[in-house]
Symmetry: none
Subunit: 219 residues, 4 copies
């Protein structure tokens, strides 16, 4: 049996699921507050109101908690997207430049909302993604979904989009938007956030949308 020992419980009963949830939430809070490396299993357990041993009967180590935190983070962020997002009225008769700007604006606002949700957790996830290959993999899985979602979104607005490689555009816009919003909300930018956001929106529009003056010419 040369397989990794995997003693972590997979609770089925209601109580077990709640306990697991409590641990993940405690982990999330502490990772956000003190960072992953400065948090230890004892603290997570204590904050969840549990004994050390209980922690270890649900997770093999704190990294497994982080994985769950990442999943929860993306779940929450998706929820937030659904709450916030409403790019263009669905019954819009014809795409045009103004609608395109609304789309871009809406995308940025959505990223921003997702960031405001829990900027410190996000920062920790980013850091761990850089440090730990396992975490990188988990995060990549989640990000793939985001990119797929954005690609599909762009597809729905093809009419007033000038870019042809929609997938590349999705990656580019997601990464760019992420990075800038993260910079403003979490890290702190060299310059005022409003100025930067304005330029970001401008850049995205010029890149993505058919020119205002040419809006009617559509391929």
């Amino acid at each position: 049996m040369p397989q990794k020992k995997n003693k972590a419980r997979s609770p089925i009963q209601k109580r077990g699921i709640e306990t697991r949830e409590k641990i993940v939430k405690a982990g999330m809070t502490l990772f956000a507050k003190k960072g992953f490396h400065r948090t230890n299993a004892l603290e997570i357990a204590a904050r969840a109101g549990l004994a050390t041993g209980t922690f270890y009967s649900y997770f093999n180590n704190k990294k497994e908690v982080l994985v769950e935190v990442i999943r929860m983070f993306y779940r929450n962020a998706s929820q937030e997207v659904l709450n916030v997002y409403d790019p263009v009225a669905s019954d819009d008769p014809a795409g045009n430049y103004a609608e395109g700007r609304k789309l871009v604006h809406s995308m940025i606002r959505t990223l921003d909302s997702a960031h405001r949700l829990d900027p410190h957790v996000h920062r920790e996830i980013l850091a761990m993604t850089l440090i730990d290959p396992d975490i990188a993999r988990i995060n990549a899985e989640e990000e793939k979904k985001v990119v797929a979602y954005m690609t599909a979104l762009l597809g729905r607005f093809r009419e007033f989009i000038r870019v042809e490689d929609l997938e590349a555009a999705a990656v580019l816009l997601y990464r760019t938007g992420e990075e800038i919003v993260h910079r403003i909300r979490v890290v702190g930018s060299e310059i005022d956030g409003q100025r930067l956001l304005a330029e970001l929106e401008e850049m995205m529009c010029r890149y993505l949308l058919k020119d205002e003056t040419r809006a009617g010419e559509g391929s």
Copy 2:
């Protein structure tokens, strides 16, 4: 005066400076290979061919080594920029769209070169910047210089640039370029790097440059 103990020597003699250098290089190598957290002072000393005690007579702790590694990294990257960078022939008579593309292309190529230099060190610096406020500060200092440099650069090409807030543009372009190149060179992107770089260049050009067809109209 409960001030921080600061026993670290500031070597003036040639030999001391060399020893210090050896430690920083050993640190750089190990941080790149194993990451900051998985590297310990003993290893750094050993790889530098020194005793543990000697390490501590040059640095108070390994974080101080990281600070030095960051400084060295930016020094090397600047050097690389000077080697690589040649955006527009200096005797170019008139700015125009083609020249603008060259500028953008050159900027991306430069970032790419800097990344290829030592992607793992770079990754580690990014991670530590997210994790440790002190490191964040040090890194911010260095990045401020980069942004200043880019702002100045854009200023020199104002003729064929449509953006007005040059500083915001510099931050935006730097962050965006950084992020995308980093994604491709270090993390691994969801899609092919060439496609992404092509779109990046396109986005930057559309954002930054006066339209091709309007290139002559410039204010």
Copy 3:
């Protein structure tokens, strides 16, 4: 009365006895496979198909299981002795050297059979006997019975036995036989088992039996 807590149930009903038996068997299997120290109560319970708590309502701790395992082991071994053992036809008219050799041979074969039954359990019992005084005591009780049995056995063949101190002889032969068979079957001997067994038999015969040539001279 600060007496030891002794909550372990003494089941009288059929079901309880079966459950107890299941635990002992599970313990025996696991002690044999992984050793006493590397086995924990949870595993024993799990393998017996019971919850941890149930385990503790039958036994106060895993050492009590070991005690039961030892008892079961000797019960099984005794059974085996009765199956295997038939030293000399009971109606044998006269003892002589050949009959003596048969006796010795039969004793060795019996020990060997008992060892083959469950060598790993036996090894574990031996080890625990050395480590834990309580276990040593329990095992000593069981061994006392074996020695008594062997003493009686020798008594029945006094005719062709030259040794006078039958009890000492019983201890000596039991210990020697045990040790050598154990060495061959469980530990692995420095030399080939057959050679060693041959010498063992020879040694026992020379020690125990009246000389072939003097066989008739008896008492």
Copy 4:
């Protein structure tokens, strides 16, 4: 580098060697007093007058100390053999039965002395040999040397020995002697030690030596 980390220091300087020695001695004392499993690294370090960390810079874990204890035990025992052992005056003109008895007596006395040296350490080694395959291997190495020594010893007295397979005889006598002496000195025997030792000597003599009455007939 998928090799086991092996950080344990191999001290060359006098001080380091002494420290290592101190740890082994502390380990030996504690293993003897409390048994291997009931001793922990902290205690060993404390008894050696060292900090926990120091312990781990000399040994990777307490098992490694046990290995060293085993080696030291056999070293001491060998020393004891040389001190005690003097089977037959070297200038003895002719082997005969009386000399043979002296040889056997001397062998038993030697085993006994070795046992008296440190019976508890010996018991612990035996137990660990049964429990841990690594320890079993280490111990087997040491025992092989003993058997080789005894085989050679028997060879020197071939004249009054009737056994032909000297190696098998060496194993048999060593194991038997060991077991009985151990039983008497460490475990406690069912019967009085003197009686058992007397029978042991008798058994060994009858097995090994040419018959008293035939002593002169030797090839």
